[in-house]
Amino acid sequence: MPEKTVYMKKNISLPLFLVVAFTANAQLNTTLNIQPTPTAVLSEWSGKNAMVTFIVTKIDSIPQQAIFKTEMKLIDGTVIGVTDITKAVPIILTKGTRVYFSKDVMPLEIMNFTGKYKAILDRTGKLPADNYQLCVQLIGQGPLGFQPLVAAKCKIFNMAALQLPILVMPANNAVLNKLSAQTAITFRWTPLIPQTQNLPTYRLQVFEVLANQQPVQALRSNQPLLDVSVKAITQYIWRPGLAFSATDSLPVKFIWTLQTSDDTGLPVIQTDGNGESRSEPFLFMIEATKRNEKKKGAGLL
């Protein structure tokens, strides 16, 4: 019996729904755009208007109240996150075209994610690297509850969190021979991952750590002896042109780091750690004799 009742209700509501939907479709046009590889940090979406744009054109002049129902899905259609429409703030649609952004259509404070996606999002602020689709729909509240005003618009995108380069060479706490180092020092690092069509720029900086200075203090306060930007490559040979006044008992100490920026010149990761997309710095020392050359690993201890 309960199954039959449901079936009957569906039968009654279906024509009504079709009428409402048809009317709405006739009055509203919507377009959804999303960057093909948006940042994996979902909280950054709200601050970047270019990330998601949802364009609504209302043809008639009758004001209409509506809310956004937004779903994040896997490619197979499995919903992993959806707007809690009971908490959504209504908007009033009037005649003309308006553009809405991520902060309007996907406010994270009312998005409910499911299962492992919520767990990972809580831990990292990011979703697992994968292909997703974002669907946005305008719905209105009618006598039968929330009803769609227009068909949902969906867009597929790929998401993978960026990982900054890791410094490789000179290894952390490496001791270099003075005579070799005065001629050339080779710097190597891992590339920004994943690699994208827009090639990153790596800004390599080397700072001398003066007596009475802490290494990070030197990085944050001194003028770099080397400040060079290279495009996409992961090795740089520096000819210092310096006479290092190093002795074995008093080595000259340096700290080096890498800042990674995108093709607009902005740091690729803006809300992690230092906010400047600077890789974890390494130290290296210059001593007078080759015999003391020793490397204490890659700083993993």
């Binding site: 994996a40 909280s43 070799s180 005065q182 000819r239």
Partner: protein, 576 residues
């Protein structure tokens, strides 16, 4: 500038007064140790053709650095260390103060260029005032200078530590004049540690640290940097056993808000740690941990170390810490053959993406340093480093694969005659770096050969200390070849009854890039260390670097473009 001049005058008076006090020092029940000094750094750069921008200055034109770091000891129980260490010109290029020239007093005090600290200590209690670099642990807080106040209490085996202060003031963003000012939000830190510690036996402690940016501290917010808030707790356990065995571990939890302007999430108790931090839409909670276990002894060290940093783990106490990796390494050091063989080696792997938010990447790390002293005359050092990095392909046809191999061989031969000892070292290093293109899959090799020959004569009856060296360096990859040859020599000698130590160095390099004409580089330097008396010394360093390009920069007028840069560093240092 007036302030700088005033400080200079005060310092010079300080030298005179302290020198005057020195002769009567024994009358005071106060013992003074430590140093004070003033150093001037000058820099000059002359580029031709003028305005060609082929080379930019890399030091401030003028800089004066001041150091006043005495420790006043009143009896055995009370000490008063002072550390005033500051510079006249702001030169910040990275971090929150980058680009800032005109500072407010608050900005000047908290600028990492400057340290002002007073740490009076009485028995087991220490008061911390001013700039402090406090490291509580590897995962909580450690490498940032904070200007504020706090204390360290260490009654018996117990310890209580607290500190609060500001690591950076609010700094408005400015686009002009170039390079502009990055800007920063004012950041306030709080840190607390409680535990027990017996040196050489154990340490058990809980750490709590918090950092929060003040959103309203700037009127022109930084373009890219967001105001943040972080709260961390960690537990550390260090235990040292008999026969050199040890275990060190730390587990930590972070609550970190990437953007304080994002809205709060009511009811998100799992992401909050009230009253210290409340969850926002940009808040994440993640874990980190590290452990090392092993044994240390005079002739054998062996240890296993592991370190995990979650993808969402962040702390304001280590702003450069990179998240999302898990490292495992085995490290050893041993001496054998009657201590004539010393070996240091480590091997391990770093993997990222434990949370599956990025492309899987793994790094192999291996290095070995093997030193053998065959006899009194001959020794050999061999080192080998291997580094491999690869990722999944993602959207590209191929994944990243970079492999670096470095092999160094350094024999050293020493022989002695009646008047002198000769030391001859040959050092050869081969470095091979392979990179795979993620679109074509083609791997390119980058090969570097470096050979260095050094000769050092040591005279028994002369004060001269010369050395001579020649270096050959070549780096090749497809369609690219870069070669240098460097000749270098230095000479040191004492003068004026050994009160002055002189050392000069001359280095000439001829370089060639592909088929371009050769470039030339001459570096001349001189060090003069004058020990004026037992406590006062005057140290100076002069250096000149002349570089002349071939035709690699382009056509006239850049053919033969050149620059001459000179630097001087001279300073007086007084030891109390």
């Amino acid at each position: 500038m007036k302030l700088t001049k005033l400080i200079c005058i005060c310092f010079l008076f300080g030298f005179v007064n302290l020198s005057a006090q020195d002769s009567t020092n024994k009358k005071f029940p106060i013992k003074v140790t430590g140093t004070m000094g003033i150093t001037y750094e000058g820099y000059g750069l002359n580029v031709k053709p003028t305005g060609s921008n082929i080379y930019t200055p890399r030091r401030p034109w003028n800089q004066v650095r001041f150091l006043f770091a005495p420790t006043l000891q009143f009896g055995n129980k009370f000490s008063l260390p002072l550390n005033f260490n500051f510079a006249s010109v702001a030169t910040n290029f990275a971090g929150p103060y980058a680009g800032l020239k005109n500072q407010s007093i608050g900005q000047w005090l908290t600028n990492p260029m400057n340290n002002f600290s007073i740490n009076p200590a009485y028995k087991w209690a220490e008061l911390l005032l001013g700039t402090q670099y406090l490291k509580y642990s590897d995962l909580s807080t450690g490498d940032i200078g904070i200007f504020g106040a706090g204390f360290n209490l260490h009654p018996g085996k117990f310890m209580f530590r607290f500190f609060t202060g500001t690591s950076q003031q609010g700094i408005n963003y400015a686009a002009a004049p170039p390079p502009g000012i990055t800007g920063a939000f004012k950041r306030t830190h709080y840190m607390f540690q409680i535990g027990t510690e017996v040196e050489g036996s154990h340490k058990v402690a809980f750490n709590f640290s918090k950092g929060k940016d003040a959103v309203t501290s700037v009127t022109a917010p930084p373009l890219a940097i967001k105001p943040q808030e972080g709260f961390n707790t960690s537990f550390i356990l260090d235990k040292y056993f008999k026969k050199g065995w040890f275990i060190n571990l730390e587990s930590a939890l972070s609550f970190f808000t990437r953007d304080l302007t994002q809205p709060l999430i009511p009811g998100a108790d799992n992401l909050s740690f009230k009253p210290f931090i409340a969850a926002r839409t940009s808040t994440a909670k993640d874990f980190a941990g590290q452990m090392s276990v092993g044994k240390k002894s005079p002739n054998l060290d062996i240890s296993y170390a592991t370190k995990y940093i979650g993808a969402g783990y962040q702390t304001t106490g280590f702003p450069f810490m990179q998240p999302d990796h898990w490292d495992n390494t085995i490290n050893t050091r041993f001496n054998t053959w009657k201590n004539k063989i010393n070996v240091t080696a480590s091997m391990g792997q770093r993997v990222n993406n434990i949370s599956n938010t990025s492309l899987r990447a793994s790094q192999f790390l291996g290095n070995l340093n093997w030193f053998t002293q065959f006899n009194d005359r001959f020794s050999l050092n061999i080192n080998y480093n291997n580094f491999g990095f690869q990722t999944a392909s993602g959207l590209n046809p191929f994944g990243i694969k970079n492999v670096s191999n470095d092999l160094g061989i350094s024999p050293m031969y020493t022989w002695t005659t009646a008047t002198m000892t000769h030391l001859l070292t040959v050092s050869y290093n081969y470095s091979k770096y392979d990179e795979r293109d993620v679109i074509t899959g083609i791997t390119t090799s980058n090969n570097t050969h470096t050979a260095l020959l050094t000769y050092v004569p040591v005279y028994f009856n002369k004060e001269l200390t010369p050395d001579f060296s020649v270096l050959y360096f070549t780096n090749t990859m497809p369609a690219f070849k870069n070669t240098f040859i460097t000749l270098s020599s230095s000479l040191g000698m004492p003068v004026a009854k050994k009160k002055i130590q002189l050392r000069g160095q001359l280095q000439y390099t001829i370089g060639k890039l592909n088929t371009f004409t050769a470039n030339n580089n001459l570096v001349v330097s001189c060090t003069i260390d004058w020990k004026i008396n037992k406590k006062l010394s005057w140290n100076s360093f002069f250096s000149t670097n002349y570089y002349r390009y071939g035709n690699e920069l382009g056509s006239i007028p850049l053919i033969g473009a050149n620059y001459l840069e000179s630097s001087v560093r001279t300073g007086l240092q007084y030891k109390f």
